[in-house]
């Protein structure tokens, strides 16, 4: 196992399209690093750069301590699981599994043994003599996985491997992958556009946007302390609410305190923030931090537009001064579309983002 690192990598295509700008990123030895972002964010490009399937325009790629920037994929000793599995259609499952080893002229006995053990652990024994066309989607996925594992590479790269599976299979396989990671202790770099997948699988998550790294941190860190508005809005479901407004000092506060007042879009609350009064800001509120309360306790009154019952909770879409505000309520409350509802913000729950740059403005405390 080894670490994979990108150092100040740029990737510009011949037609001028910038897929990666000054990207510096590292997956530590044995870490499960997830690359997440909307389509076009460059995450697949980063993976392909790591694999050697694309060349960097400038910058360095390291595997372990070795500079592999100029090495072709054959010499990097990493394995990749493709979105469409890329199983060799004219070979049996057994031959697919053993391809990487037989290409490197490994002894036949060793290949046979490794294929046998990987096949057993992935439950592929019954399928060994079939061709990929005769397999289901989930089975093909496991073969693709097996092909990578058999090689015992320095690291694994995954390119949205679950996106072609149906919802239930996706969840099951996710668990499998997590188990596999613990079992092998391997370095894994995983690309997905699904933020919930990222949160559940990653030791650390790197959020990308338009080829630039937004933030790389643990799931909890990303959730609780997003670096900017984009990350805050991307991570977490349902998505964070954003309200425009300004800051002003707390009444009776001589200054030096850590809290200020946010005012805007029909909401006035106290938030921990260092920024000076008068700054134009955006308030971020997670739906989970907006409670539905009896009228006497709430500070915000909004009109309910739609209620989505999810079983364990309800997602309440409301309208406040022509802006949408989403809240999450326990399932037993009776909330009716068209009615007014009172909301209260949990204490210290709001994030403040600079209106122009989107950067989160924290306080000394956070």
């Amino acid at each position: 196992m080894a670490r994979i690192a990108l150092e100040h990598v740029d990737k510009v295509y011949a037609n001028g399209y910038v897929a990666a700008r000054d990207l510096s990123l590292e997956a530590a030895d044995g870490e499960f690093l997830v690359l997440v972002g909307p389509s076009g964010s460059g995450k697949s490009t980063v993976l392909r750069l790591m694999a050697g399937l694309e060349q960097v325009t400038s910058g360095i790629i390291r595997i372990g301590e070795r500079d592999v920037t100029d090495l072709p994929p054959q010499q990097r000793d990493i394995a990749m699981v493709f979105q469409n599995y890329a199983l060799y259609p004219h070979m049996t499952v057994r031959d697919n599994l053993g391809f990487g080893l037989s290409i490197r002229k490994q002894p036949a006995a060793m290949i046979k043994e490794r294929v046998r053990s990987v096949s057993a652990s992935l439950g592929l024994d019954a399928l060994l003599d079939r061709k990929p066309a005769q397999l289901s989607g989930g089975q093909r996925q496991r073969v693709a996985l097996g092909r990578a594992i058999v090689r015992e590479p320095l690291a694994f790269l995954f390119d949205e491997p679950l996106s072609n599976l149906d919802a239930q299979l996706r969840v099951e396989t996710r668990v499998e992958l997590a188990r596999l990671h613990r079992q092998l202790g391997a370095t894994m770099v995983y690309v997905t556009h699904d933020q919930s997948e990222a949160l559940t699988l990653g030791d650390r998550i790197a959020v990308l946007r338009d080829g630039a790294l937004q933030q790389v941190a643990s799931p909890m860190e990303l959730y609780a302390r997003p670096a900017n508005r984009f990350v805050a809005g991307f991570i977490g479901s349902p998505a964070m609410n954003f309200l425009d407004g300004v800051l002003r000092t707390k009444e009776g506060d001589p200054g030096g305190g850590s809290n200020v007042i946010f005012e805007g879009s029909g909401v006035t609350i106290e938030v921990p923030c260092d920024a000076p009064a008068g700054s134009k800001v955006v308030l971020g509120l997670r739906p989970q931090h907006l409670e539905v309360v009896p009228d006497t306790e709430g500070t915000i009154r909004a009109e309910v537009v739609v209620v989505e019952p999810m079983g364990n909770e309800q997602i309440v879409y409301t309208l406040l001064e022509a802006q949408r505000l989403v809240a999450v309520a326990p399932p037993e409350l009776s909330i009716v579309p068209g009615a007014m509802v009172s909301l209260r913000v949990k204490r210290d729950a709001g994030h403040i983002f600079d209106a122009e740059s989107g950067i989160r403005l924290g306080s000394r405390a956070t």
Binding site: L53, Q74, A79, M80, F82, A86, Y88, F99, G100, I103
Partner: protein
Amino acid sequence: MTFRWGRWLFGAVLVALVLFTLFPFYWAIVASLTPDAALFREPSLWPRTIILDHYRALFDERDFLTPIRNSLVVAGTTTAFCLMVGTLAAYAMARLEFRGKAAIMAFILAVTMFPQISIVSPLYLLLRSMHLIDTYPGLIMPYMTFAMPLTVWILTGSIRQIPRDLEDAAHVDGASRRQSFTKILLPLAVPSLATTAILTFIYCWNEFLFALSFTLGPERQTVPVAIALFRGQYQVPWGQILAAAVVATAPVAAMVLVFQRRIVQGLTAGAVKG
């Protein structure tokens, strides 16, 4: 689309078309089995007498096997060579990035549009100066002017349809470019190669102008030329000509019947792209 009232009309026209298509062959077979004297007497749709004289004469008196042999050699060699060289070129066009690719493609397409007549005379003089008139190489070389572009064109389209992911996976697995080409791409391209071979072979077999211009006598003439130049002593030997036509057509018809799906795929692979 489901026609209702038009279904019968549709079927009738279709049947008419098929009859129109097959009738000339039927008539040729009938005539090839009819004695010369009766050919233009009173034609009837059913043969009155059946003789095999024409077919016998074809191989005894006219040595029809020689043109067949010549066609096989020329078409076969051209096809084999173009396939080998063309596959490499098609791989480059379909998988590699280099400047000038679009120009090359346009160039190849343009060459397929050459009127053959425009290069007959210089080719004739060139071949004559190389003493290649009336020889096998003297036909194979000119045939490559249309066979090579055709091969590259069809194969490039076919290779493009094979997912690139497979070779990427092979590279990551440790295969060199040459290995991914021979172990992954080539096996998957076999159907396209077969189709291209069939199409190229057919085009070469049917070629007339070059064969007519670059051969001098029966020793090296190909089937189309031999048939077209059948001369009788007193009159046009229709019986033998049609017998030759049947002999020339039967294997082609058989090939088409067996490979029709492939042929259709191959013809449309390079042509329409939506």
